[in-house]
């Protein structure tokens, strides 16, 4: 199953809810395309909710990084919330914990954009 993305607004923060696997192929390009579309439409405060993401491979990590770079270069901010232990471990292994702001609680994450 590839990743399914939906988004919703919490104030001026766009929360992107991801469900499934972010892996090489359809899964990773869906993520990339969605982020680019949102930024192009002016959404600058993006919170990616990964609570229902069961699996990310190195290509998926690459898409997270690519998304972060895209959003940041266009003056936006991308943060992460709801990571499972396995995804947190991946970010630790790849040292990307030093790049992304990661939150366990959505409300706290939303407030951090203020």
């Amino acid at each position: 199953m590839s990743v399914k993305l939906t988004n919703r607004q919490v104030g001026d923060v766009t929360v992107i809810d991801a469900v499934g696997r972010i892996t090489l192929g359809e899964g990773s390009s869906t993520f990339r395309d969605t982020l680019r579309d949102l930024v192009a439409k002016g959404h600058k405060k993006l919170l990616l909710n990964l609570a229902e993401v069961s699996y990310i491979d190195s290509s998926g990590i690459g898409e997270l990084v690519s998304g972060f770079t895209t959003v940041t270069n266009q003056g936006g901010r991308l943060k992460l919330v709801g990571l499972t232990k396995r995804v947190k471990d991946l970010l630790q292994i790849t040292k990307l914990y030093t790049v992304f702001e990661v939150y366990d609680d959505e409300a706290e994450a939303v407030r951090s954009f203020a």
């Binding site: 090489l24 491979d57 190195s58 290509s59 690459g62 898409e63 990084v65 991946l90 790849t94 790049v99």
Partner: protein, 146 residues
């Protein structure tokens, strides 16, 4: 066929197509074998991820999606370990010259983390050029003592 001295048995030895479907297939095969071998859920996840990364490297970088090239895939089940070998039919590469994905200047690169994850998720990794084939990646996951 079992190797009587080591007790190892080839659980799977097959040729896979150079497609992303083969990545899924290899991951499923190894998870199935490893489950029957009694690996823990955590070890299953890690081994599956490592195999997936090795297969992606073989399909994408080794064989470059060339359908005329195959990925040689085998799983060997020993009393103390599972050994998964993935070999492409590419041209090989210099493993010593790969950029360090953990270097500050490389952290925001989109790719280059596959080997890092393989090494993190299995107990031993052996990379070799395997002429006349391409690159062989042999991954060993030791069984936890019961």
């Amino acid at each position: 066929m079992a190797d009587n001295q080591s007790g190892a048995a080839k659980a799977v030895e097959t040729l896979l197509e150079s497609t992303l479907d083969s990545v899924d297939e290899a991951e499923s095969l190894v998870i199935d074998i490893a489950t029957k071998a009694g690996l823990s859920e955590d070890d299953l996840h890690k081994l599956g991820m490592a195999v997936r990364e090795a297969m992606v490297n073989a399909v994408v970088h080794g064989n470059r999606y060339n359908l005329k090239k195959k990925v040689h895939f085998s799983v060997e089940n020993s009393p103390d370990r599972l050994t998964v070998t993935v070999t492409d039919e590419g041209e090989g590469f210099d493993f010593t010259r790969l950029p360090d994905p953990l270097a500050e200047e490389n952290l925001l690169r989109q790719s280059g983390r596959g080997l890092l994850l393989i090494r993190a998720f299995v107990d031993e990794v052996h990379l070799e050029l395997a002429p006349p084939l391409g690159t062989e990646v042999r991954m060993i996951k030791f069984r936890s003592p019961s």
